[in-house]
């Protein structure tokens, strides 16, 4: 499960034409796999970037056109495109997603969104469902904070203390980005390239993204979903507990809820095979 450093992202084509466009550069969009296959888009959650999918995407390369990207502010996205007003709600990210799909001109897209990106996909599909064929929401939560009649799992104070943690870990975030030693002692240049990529995020943006992620309430957007939806939950997921997964399932008419043989919140990294199998089973 530990990651061998994969090919640098530059080896994948950045857009259909091979020339990165403004949108592709902004979101560091990489397209690989089967150019004639059905498009599948993977969107990462809070705290990481597109490398969160590196254990999952290989299984799709043969049959699918595989699209991964970084949200603005994360990974190798263009951080200068970050605007605090645009990204003060998940709608800003949903607009970016729609622009990426427009630019690649893909339809019948399978959208796989982890955690907060699950809701970003819901908002995008509600804005314009024409490009979406299926939504796969991996450990999603429409609201993290408890409300009357709704158990999100957290209180506002918890979120505030998490934001304190984020600030306390300011230096920690830098050290997380320290040189990557593992896996590639022979190819230090690869290590350096990945060091820049691995879940690096500007701390100010990380704090804002955390605020927007964990303080948003998108419950009312769920019943509006018309795209076929698969919800994947794990057991013992503290971030998106079972009650939340059930809630999402109940609110999206016709959705399918599958519990993965995995624990925690990040099955894309902790149980990639179970996640991959569940997606294939649903798409079959």
């Amino acid at each position: 499960m530990l990651i061998e450093a994969g090919p640098p992202s530059s080896e994948a084509t950045t857009a259909a034409s091979g020339v990165p466009s403004a949108v592709s550069r902004r979101n560091n969009v990489t397209v690989s796999g089967n150019p004639d296959g059905r498009a599948i888009v993977f969107a990462h959650g809070f705290g990481c970037n597109q490398s969160a999918w590196r254990l999952v995407t290989p299984a799709f390369l043969a049959d699918y056109k595989v699209i991964v990207f970084d949200h603005v502010g994360a990974g190798n996205s263009d951080a200068s495109a970050y605007s605090f007003w645009k990204y003060d709600s998940l709608l800003g990210y949903a607009d970016d997603l729609l622009e990426i799909l427009d630019e690649l001109d893909v339809t019948d897209v399978v959208y796989v969104g982890h955690s907060v990106s699950g809701m970003i996909g819901v908002l995008a599909a509600n804005r314009d469902s024409s490009r979406f064929g299926a939504l796969v929401l991996v450990t999603p939560s429409p609201r993290y904070i408890n409300a009357p009649g709704y158990a999100g799992g957290f209180e506002v104070e918890d979120i505030n203390s998490m934001l304190d943690d984020l600030d306390s870990n300011y230096f920690g975030w830098s050290s997380i980005m320290a040189p990557l030693m593992m896996g590639n002692p022979d190819r230090p240049e690869l290590g350096n390239e990945l060091t820049e990529n691995f879940c690096s995020t500007d701390p100010t943006i990380a704090r804002h993204f955390a605020r927007v992620t964990f303080l948003s309430d998108n419950r009312e957007d769920l019943p509006l979903v018309t795209t076929p939806t698969l919800i994947l939950e794990c057991s013992a997921d503290i971030v998106a507990p079972a009650a939340v997964a059930r809630y999402v399932h109940q609110q999206i008419a016709g959705s399918t809820l599958v519990t993965l043989a995995a624990t925690g919140h990040i099955p894309n990294l902790s149980a990639p095979d179970a996640l991959t199998d569940a997606i294939f089973a649903y798409l079959k």
């Binding site: 499960m1 800003g92 230096f171 320290a178 879940c199 995995a262 925690g264």
Partner: protein
């Protein structure tokens, strides 16, 4: 001997592990605790059997759980190690234990991950002063940001010379300062309605003046913060409009100068937001700066209007004549309609001024002004260039119409004067320049004034109460009308 020796080494290592100067725990790759050392037990207050078999994350406080599950584990999985991450652990007695943790993933011979080893350091004191520093730093940053916004605002806003320019700057500054999804500024028009001056319409509403739900926003008594969930939003029907526009929170700030309303600044937020008193202070400071600039702009505009009117006669001033002439020339070039400029210089006025004084002279000028205005065509502009020189600008005019206007001007001037000057007479020397089919491109407006002036002098030289009309353009010259 060697067995005993090995046991000795083992027990040394065991002692080192159990009583190391830091807490230590091992978990499965899924985070289930499989081993803990004594140091950790002593420090956290738990029995070994309370920890082993449980997920490590379940002993963290909720805020740290979020951090751990999203950020920490992602990095740990991808990099194989995480260093010096601050988390908050729940002591057996319920209190918070601030920790710094380092984790590494151990792998088997095939590179498959097996366990996670975590070293735990007490960060209570460090965390306490860090939090204090953090609180102070945030406070300093927030106040620095506010000051920067205000300094920038006072520089940028005061540069505005029109309502629109001010509105554009204010909405931009506000949007950036508060990370609002939209900021719109409305200004009261002459009819007392609010017109959108900048930004996208708040909630998609162009006019806030009606009786609809938005009337709440239109005239707030003070800064109003409204969430979609507020009872007021629900009872007013605004909540539904907000839902449709994907707006969760609205802030409406009145713009008013000494209690008289000028407009309103409305910010929309796509997620539920709360505001500190300092934020509201910033809103109000921006509103105050803007109303000062608005007031200044309005005064300047008023002054501008004043300079366009001749205060003595109420006719157009030289400045307005030039402006309107220039506009008329431009238009005539487009629509190829004829325009004429008539310049009237009074005969006999100097005598009145000299013999009866300036006050009487002024009242004669005023009387002449209203007489001229009463005989021109509807829509003609009458102005006073200065002294006893008047002009009439006729757009879309025929030579015959010009003749008739000239005749009427002569006739009205010949009538006896009233008041102290009733024994005196004035007449007019009139010079007219008429461009048939519009003014050619090479003729500047100033030249037209000069041409009318020249024609007027020709009349003056010919004796008093005369007129000269110069016609430029494609038309057979009328009798007595020389063509240039």
């Amino acid at each position: 001997m060697s067995d005993a020796g090995d046991r000795g080494v083992e027990s040394i290592f065991e002692d080192l592990y159990e009583h190391a100067p830091c807490g230590h725990l091992s978990t499965t790759i899924n985070g289930i605790i499989i081993r803990v050392n004594e140091t950790l037990l002593k420090w956290t207050g738990y029995q070994r059997e309370e920890l082993v078999g449980q997920p490590f994350v379940s002993f963290l406080r909720p805020g740290s759980q979020l951090m751990f599950e999203t950020r920490y584990l992602s990095v740990l999985h991808l990099r194989g190690e995480v260093k010096e991450v601050a988390v908050s652990f729940r002591h057996a007695n319920g209190t918070a234990l601030p920790m710094m943790v380092n984790s590494t993933v151990t792998t088997d011979g095939n590179g498959e991950p097996v366990t996670i080893r975590t070293a735990v350091f007490d960060a209570s004191e460090r965390q306490e002063y860090e939090r204090e520093l953090l609180a102070a730093q945030r406070k300093a940053e927030a106040s620095e940001t506010r000051i920067r916004v205000l300094q920038n605002a006072s520089r940028v806003l005061t540069e505005a010379t029109t309502d629109t320019a001010l509105a554009n700057q204010l909405t931009k500054i506000t949007r950036e300062a508060f990370a609002a999804s939209n900021v719109s500024m409305y200004l009261l028009n002459a009819e007392g309605k609010l017109d959108l001056a900048s930004g996208n319409p708040a909630l998609g509403l162009l006019d806030l003046s009606g009786d609809g739900p938005a009337r709440l926003l239109a005239r707030p008594e003070g800064t109003m913060i409204l969430s979609r969930a507020d009872p007021l939003a629900k009872s007013s029907g605004l909540a539904e409009v907000m839902r449709g526009a994907q707006v969760e929170t609205l802030v409406s700030v009145p713009l008013s100068e000494e209690a008289s309303p000028l407009g309103v600044l409305i910010s929309s937020f796509a997620r539920s937001r709360s505001f500190e008193p300092d934020d509201i202070g910033l809103y109000e400071a921006l509103a105050r700066q803007s109303t000062q600039v608005l007031t200044r702009i309005h005064l300047l505009q008023q002054l501008e209007r004043l300079t366009l009117i001749d205060p003595l006669t109420g006719l157009a001033s030289r400045r307005l004549i030039q402006k309107r002439l220039s506009d008329a020339v431009t238009l005539s070039r487009l629509n190829h309609r004829s325009i004429a400029l008539l310049l009237i210089d009074l005969d006999g006025f100097k005598l009145i001024n000299d013999e009866l004084g300036h006050a009487t002279g002024d009242s004669v000028l005023s009387e002449v002004g209203s007489r001229l205005s009463s005989v021109v065509r509807h829509g003609d502009l009458v102005g006073r260039l200065g002294g006893d020189e008047f002009v009439v600008l006729c757009e879309d005019v025929t030579p015959d119409e010009v003749d008739r206007v000239v005749e009427r001007l002569h006739a009205t001037l010949r009538k006896p004067l009233t008041g102290r000057a009733s024994q005196k007479r004035v007449t007019g020397s009139i010079g007219t320049i008429l461009y048939l089919g519009g003014v050619p491109d090479h003729i500047p407006p100033d030249l037209i004034l000069e041409q009318a002036d020249e024609a007027m002098y020709r009349s003056k030289r010919a004796g008093k109460d005369q007129d000269t009309t110069v016609i430029v353009g494609d038309a057979s010259p009328a009798e007595g009308h020389p063509v240039l």
